[in-house]
Symmetry: C2
Subunit: 395 residues, 2 copies
């Protein structure tokens, strides 16, 4: 039988990253490839307690269908935490609970993108966002991005030349893949530019709470005077990813469209998981938990940076992140990170080549390293092995 | 600010059914409107046990990211149960776990439908499928449907005249909204027709296990010789809907596309909920649980049918379902079910007017009644009140 698939399916292909991640299932591999939180800090005992409590107190409601928008007490807690951390002024009604941030990206594509519309993004940008938006057949326009964030002048130039710009997708805090954070001045300059255009900003903030030192910077959403910014957050990095609980904050006009799409897309997010996280936030101090995560990731990050300084040839450059899960490596022009990967896999070390994070290709001399999922001694060993392979290129 | 939404968003509007369902949140209302399972049979105690056990035994894996395809032991159990009940020959690898059946419908639209393609469906058909597919801007072509199912001759006529037919969407068992079940002969005749065309069949089977008497009929998927049928099942009706765990079974070629779409759409379904259901299926006899559900719904259905026979004017016709959650009422031509609803709401009784289940409109003299969510005495009272209102039309 000859099956006719939709035209959009032509954009999807078997991802080499999925293949890399399959390799890393081998426990012998030192993997800097995924973006996995440290499972040793998952709040397992606390979850046992709150699950029993939720099933006891309101099992019938927790296991039944529920509203598309999400569980209001949880939405209120999300709004209050976000306001306290990122300077926003959200209420529970501004929050829509999602089945993971990836769903929020997919639905943003569905709400805003017609074939051929432009998605404006950092260069490089998050691979998962590229695949989510690809289903809606857009063009990707990369804006020049440096250590302080997206370049506002280049953004203005792009927006003037792209009347079909519909979404500006950015990760201002501890970006995936680079680990970079936008300065406060850049955030303000960015908002000054976007305010002149009728374009929506998707501000993806999965890592913002995981800051190793200094104050958290205000979200773009806190500077949003026109209902232009959709802020995305998630419990995947501060609680656990297995439950798939995330959220967006958006203006009522935008929220209505997301609710339509979610109603038609999966009815609503897991009732019981929402109730459990709500009960956890009632019963425990999640800030204490976040502090533990920060301490662990800070240590792992520092171990990785120190090892790279010691083991990598001086012509290899890397980012010093202030938080999050990732750092970013730039190899000398001649070295292809895919080639480096195949040599490193022989030494049982894995990472993600950076080319995949550029929607329009190029930059094959870059790579992403994750530091959250491996203990310090394996980080040291892995970076040591990578250094040995790098030196074999006789840089 | 003037926001440009995607053209597809023009298909979505505030649904009057959501408004009806909001009204029914009032506990005084006797609601035949939703499609809610009976919460008094949710396996709350069993879930407490298996959740504690899963977190104890494999908490770190259960709370971590996992594969898009789903948890293999659960997929294997789903395949085995489906084979035993519906005559299929599935293996674990044929199953893709979904975040609810609504997601399976949305992704079917994404995988198969370009703007203007045709979705072929029963008349009437499931409202949630209409809204899921609407996001992909198709045309809906309704095929004549009677008490024995879709009319194969009308289907053949439609398929010959619709070269852009991409999906035939059907619910052969205890259909939503009508409660009707296709005869075995009709299933065979249907498959004989579709085998002549390169079109995919989405066989939605959320209620098939809830048969009140007699043997379960074989699934269309069990007669699928060409990898043409996608079978959809769910734990929402036999376990609980709040967890949002469903699945599809499809040929490898189709499965690959669904995996791409799911990877880009929400990465994967809740790891812990999959592990919990798997542990429940290990530790308990779900067939015993299904028997309890069947006994309860059978009683409620019979109470409703008996009350309708007694209370409704003889010109009002209704379906006698062999299972599931719904029955279907046809009023004399002159009576509009929306008008009837507004009169019934004054008596604190709610149902869903049937017009919404016809994608191309009409049939405003029909309505859907749910019998699974109300105890027998409230069913008797509610039907009594409906009968009183109906008699006020002086039929």
């Amino acid at each position: 039988m000859k099956i006719k698939f939709a035209d959009r399916m032509g954009h999807f292909r078997a991802s080499d990253i999925r293949e890399i991640l399959k390799v890393t299932a081998d426990p012998e591999i030192i993997s800097f490839a995924g973006g996995l939180p440290a499972p040793e800090l998952f709040p397992i005992e606390e979850l046992k307690t709150v699950t029993a409590e939720v099933l006891e107190r309101c099992g019938r409601e927790a296991l039944q269908y529920s509203t598309t928008e999400g569980y209001l007490p949880l939405r209120e807690k999300i709004a209050a935490r976000t306001n306290a951390k990122f300077g926003t002024a959200l209420e529970g009604g501004d929050i829509l609970v999602m089945s993971g941030s990836q769903q929020a990206l997919d639905y943003a594509g569905k709400v805003f993108l017609d074939d051929g519309d432009a998605v404006i993004c950092e260069s490089p940008t998050y691979l998962g966002a590229i695949s989510a938006f690809l289903g809606y057949s857009p063009r990707f326009v990369e804006v020049a991005t440096d250590d302080d964030g997206m370049d506002p002048r280049d953004l203005e130039r792009v927006l003037r030349s792209e009347p079909r710009a519909r979404i500006i997708y950015v990760i201002p805090d501890f970006q995936n893949p680079t680990g970079r954070t936008w300065s406060v001045e850049r955030r303000e300059a960015f908002m000054d530019v976007v305010r002149q255009f009728d374009v929506v900003v998707v501000e993806d903030n999965p890592y913002g709470e995981l800051r190793f030192q200094g104050p958290i910077f205000p979200a773009l959403k806190s500077m949003d005077t026109r209902g232009q910014v959709i802020l995305q957050g998630t419990f995947s990095k501060v609680f656990c990813p297995g439950m798939r609980i995330a959220w967006i904050a958006a203006s009522p006009e935008i929220m209505e469209k997301f609710v339509f799409v979610k109603q038609a897309g999966d009815l609503h997010t897991s009732t019981i998981s929402q109730r459990e996280i709500d009960a956890y936030l009632e019963a425990y101090d999640i800030e204490e938990h976040v502090e533990k995560l920060v301490a662990l990731y800070r240590e792992r990050c520092f171990v990785m940076l120190e090892a790279m300084e010691r083991e990598f040839p001086p012509s290899v450059r890397f980012v010093r992140p202030d938080g999050g899960l990732f750092t970013w490596v730039e190899l000398p022009e001649g070295i292809n990170a895919r080639d480096l990967l195949s040599r490193c896999l022989k030494e049982k070390v894995a990472f993600v080549p950076g080319g995949a994070f550029y929607p329009n290709g190029g930059h094959e001399n870059t790579l992403r390293l994750n530091f959250s999922n491996m203990p310090p001694e394996r980080i040291r060993d892995g970076i040591g092995l990578m250094g040995k392979v790098l030196r074999s290129y006789s840089l």
